[in-house]
Amino acid sequence: MIKVKNIYKSFDGETILKNVSTQFDPGITNLIIGRSGSGKTVLVKSILGLYEIDKGEIWYGDINLTRMPEKDRKKMRSEIGMVFQGGALFDSLSVEANVRFPLDMFTNKTPKEKQERVEFCLDHVNIEPIAYKLSPSEISGGMQKRVAIARAIALNPKYLFCDEPNSGLDPETSTVIDQLIQNLTKEFNMTTIINTHDMNSVIEIGEFVLFISKGEVAWEGTNKEILHTENKKLNDFIFANKLYAQLKKEGENK
């Protein structure tokens, strides 16, 4: 579980996050949504400890990240997996070497144990053995995202962060990635936080949705509640998409 308590963050005198408080539970997919520039990336980077917050507290379970020295934070990061927008796979390494990298760096497992773990992770994200030796540039965007997820779960993390995991993917592949993240979250009981503005993801897997507007928490709830909310800011954000506006209209007519 991750708890965020009254955090503030500003850059060059401009306040980006204002009094943000929320809680992300394990075993469910937690989504942070909001317009571009609303502060959701700053929130995620603050939770990750990449930005020092001005005020407030961030708790990983019963550990207070805000008071933790940098050395301990580094150790803490081995419990965190991250999937970046572009995958961020290492170009110079093959698919399997990418997944093995955190194991080589942070564990003392034998080569056989590492190989078993690599195959376990790649199998979980449906990557065929034929692709193991390929380099990231030789596989599709969807496969790159799946390999990135496999690398993120290689150390069996308690916390998984995904930054726009569907960007640049077709709708069908996006759904596959969403389902994959949700399944892994439940299987390994991870606290998963997904930063997105993809409404399909919100509807499909948004078991907890946090809506950020101008650096403040403007709404929080579930994907079931989101289509029926009276929150104007959230409605403006969701129903900017004509398809969802149509769905809401049809729902009201029934």
Binding site: S78, I80, F84, A88, D91, F101, D104, M105
Partner: protein, 246 residues
């Protein structure tokens, strides 16, 4: 003001680079990879340039010393000392700053703009140390060897070209390159190559590591890295020559 900011940031980066590695085995593996990609892959370039420059130098020395009062052995001596003192150390470092330096900036810069460096940081890896330290050690280790290879092939180029061009006999040339030889010149130049190797790896790494933006900015950073490395090599050449040779 910006100059001091960059100098400060460069030394701050070096502090991170020389901190304790997470896992020595991974760094050693990376070191061998860098020795191969940055050093061994530069050997052919060094050989080709040195052979041609050695040959050209012999013809030019022979032309400028076409005076019966000068002994023929001066051609070999001039070629040898120019290669040992300046060409194989400084000029070769300037050339390799273009090849190795741009390679380092573009590799690290691309990793920065594609979030690969952020990915290392989030895993808890000291990205500056993991990416830059093996490159610095590899280049500093390989530069003295490249220097020796350059001197050897430069002298060989002169030996081949001189008699073929008819400007000097092989016997006079060989006698010339053995005449008035001071071994300290080689020591002095090897010391220079260690400094140049450090600059050729660390300055481009700095520009790559701090790139912001996209592919275009990586290209700009590569150009800036090569220009700045070249200026620093010449500056250090001047300082080291004054300190060690006078």
């Amino acid at each position: 003001m910006k100059f001091f900011f960059h100098v400060g940031q460069y030394f701050y980066m070096l502090k991170k680079v020389f901190s304790k590695p997470e896992k020595h085995k991974m760094y050693i593996r990376q070191l061998f990879h860098e020795i191969d990609s940055l050093g061994v892959n530069s050997i052919w370039l060094v050989i080709i340039i040195s052979v041609f420059i050695g040959g050209i130098m012999v013809i030019q020395f022979a032309y400028s010393m076409a005076n019966p009062l000068y002994p023929n052995t001066l051609v070999g001596l001039g070629t040898r000392d120019t290669l040992i003192l300046e060409f194989s150390s400084t000029m070769m470092a300037l050339i390799l700053a273009g090849k190795i330096g741009s390679n380092i900036t573009s590799e690290i810069g691309t990793m920065r703009v594609t979030e690969q460096i952020d990915s290392l940081e989030i895993m808890g890896v000291n990205s500056a140390s993991y990416l830059i330290l093996p490159k610095i050690i590899a280049v500093v280790l390989i530069f003295p060897f490249l220097y020796i290879i350059s001197v050897f092939f430069g002298l060989l180029g002169g030996l081949i070209t001189g008699p073929i061009a008819g400007v000097i006999t092989a016997a006079d040339y060989i006698a010339g390159i053995q005449w008035l030889f001071y071994p300290y010149y080689v020591t002095f130049s090897i010391i220079k190559t260690l400094f140049f190797g450090f600059l050729v790896a660390s300055v481009p790494a700095y520009f790559g590591y701090h790139v912001q933006g996209g592919a275009l900015d990586v290209g700009k950073a590569s150009t800036l890295a090569v220009v700045n490395t070249n200026v620093l090599i010449l500056l250090f050449d001047l300082i080291l020559t004054q300190l060690l040779l006078t």
